[in-house]
Amino acid sequence: MNKNGNIIELKNIETMYEGEHLPVIYGIDLTIKYGEFVSIIGPNGAGKTTLLETINGLLPYSGGKGLVFGKEIPKSKSEIRKEIGYVIQNFEIDPLSPFVCKDIVMSGRTGKIGTFRFASKKDWDKVWYGMSLVGMIDFADRPIGKLSGGEFQKILLARALAQQPRLLLLDEPFSNLDLSSRVQIETLLNRIHERHKITIILVSHELKFVPMHCSRVIVMNKGKIVMDGKKENILKSDILSTIFNGNGRKK
């Protein structure tokens, strides 16, 4: 954490993909305080995932300056990543993937354990804890490729939680979940946020997926932050209907 209590400080950030001439996100000025629960919403292609991957250094920014935990992202990215739990936007899992769930959850702790070190009992305890939090403890020895989309999403969340992160980046975490699983995960996120004071940034392309306890909403469109404020104020705004063309609005 920074002296001023900011966990993330982005100043005029611009991120461009290799070989491209136009930045995917630009002019990003964003400050997130330690312990905040923020939702980033926007239509497909707004630059939400790019912003998340700029924060954890997976994508190097091409302009501006970015600090996470008070450290410059490009210089300390491996160190920063050990403290960031990342749930990637859902990807196709090979049904024959030769891994069992517990090993995938443990893989979240790889960076934290460190090179030349073996997973200890304490590390495994974190794995069981993460899996039990998302209600997947009975799936420990199940092949990862045999899970449903929702179960797989929960394992990815358990993987991020087992890491014991200070910052949790969730990219469309509800995309494959049915209503009951979504409520369960949302409740879980609220509980984690309240109890452990983990800073959570959740990305979604639908307004209805903004969790109840989320206090701040950032709206992105065409690579820029167009709105940033309290959830109540943002969700009432008329600009949203222009951006989303009326789709996805919470009823």
């Binding site: 050990k82 891994f99 090993d103 934290k112 069981w128 799936f139 420990a140």
Partner: protein
């Protein structure tokens, strides 16, 4: 049955065991990364190196090892730099090595010399030297240590590179290391089973292990075990029938694979199959 001097027999058996271990251990990664053609590439890199050795009048084996070493080292960074899948880069390097081999051979007069280079492609277990055994033993120890020490990093990278990177793993380093060690295991095994057949020793034991398990750890144990057994049984078959050693090993490993497909629990439906998927959890939920 062929009668062999005891020392030659022991050297050959040791060579077969070590080649079986090295190739089928790295085969687990090759199959996972879908890089089966790496066997072709390394054998032809060795072929080009052997031809180069003949051109500059050094031992073709030294040339073969040198070319294999450089190719294995360059493969990962080249694919990364070109932003292409490793498999595409393997295709590029394969044709490049073939072309080099033919150019080098055009400088070597006479069929006997060319035959020396071609021997690299076919291999012979009876030409295994003490140095080969020493190198293969060293490589086997390195592979074992590499997998034990970096097991958690390897699992992470093999599952999903981006997620591994996001949790603080140096994915490039481990990816390149796997490619390099695979290339090196192939090149050292060439003299034993031959370049064209070493490929089967990488793929077949792992594919057999894949028929039984979903757990990477179990595949990591069973693939080399099957590889070693294939080599030993293949070796015995070769002695009994006078079949070429490489071909015998491939036949045996292919047979194992065929049997595994038939008896694989992964294809069973009903209780038997479910038992393998749903394991009982011995861990109490943490409240």
């Amino acid at each position: 049955m062929i009668e062999l001097p005891f020392v030659l027999l022991i050297t050959a058996i040791l060579g077969a065991i070590l080649a079986g271990f090295a190739c089928s251990t790295m085969g687990v990664f090759v199959v996972r990364m879908n890089l089966s053609s790496i066997g072709y590439l390394m054998s032809h890199a060795a072929f080009a190196g052997a031809a180069f050795g003949l051109v500059i009048s050094i031992d073709p084996t030294i040339g073969a090892l040198f070319f294999s070493f450089v190719t294995a080292l360059a493969l990962g960074p080249l694919a990364e730099k070109a932003r292409l899948q490793s498999n595409i880069m393997i295709g590029f390097l394969f044709s490049f090595m073939m072309a080099l081999a033919f150019i080098f051979l055009s400088f070597v007069p006479g069929q006997i010399a060319s035959g020396k280079a071609l021997r690299i492609l076919w291999g012979s277990i009876f030409s295994v030297t003490y140095d080969d055994i020493l190198l293969l033993s060293l490589l086997s120890i390195i592979l074992t240590l590499f997998i034990i020490v970096f097991y958690k990093e390897l699992i992470s990278v093999m599952f999903h590179k981006k997620l591994a990177e996001a949790s603080g793993v140096n994915t490039k380093l481990f990816y390149f290391a796997v490619l390099f060690l695979t290339g090196f295991a192939v090149s050292l095994s060439l003299r034993i089973v031959g370049g064209l057949l070493v490929f089967a020793l990488i793929i077949n034991p792992t594919s057999t292990a894949y028929q039984f398990f979903y757990d990477f750890k179990k595949i990591m144990v069973f693939s080399p075990t099957i590889g070693i057994i294939s080599c030993l049984v293949g070796f015995y078959l070769s002695l009994v029938t006078n079949f070429p050693i490489g071909a015998s090993i491939v036949i045996i490993s292919a047979l194992f694979f065929a049997v595994a497909i038939v008896i694989s629990p992964k294809r069973k439906k009903g209780n038997g199959g479910r038992k393998n998927l749903v394991q009982k959890s011995s861990v109490e939920p943490v409240r």
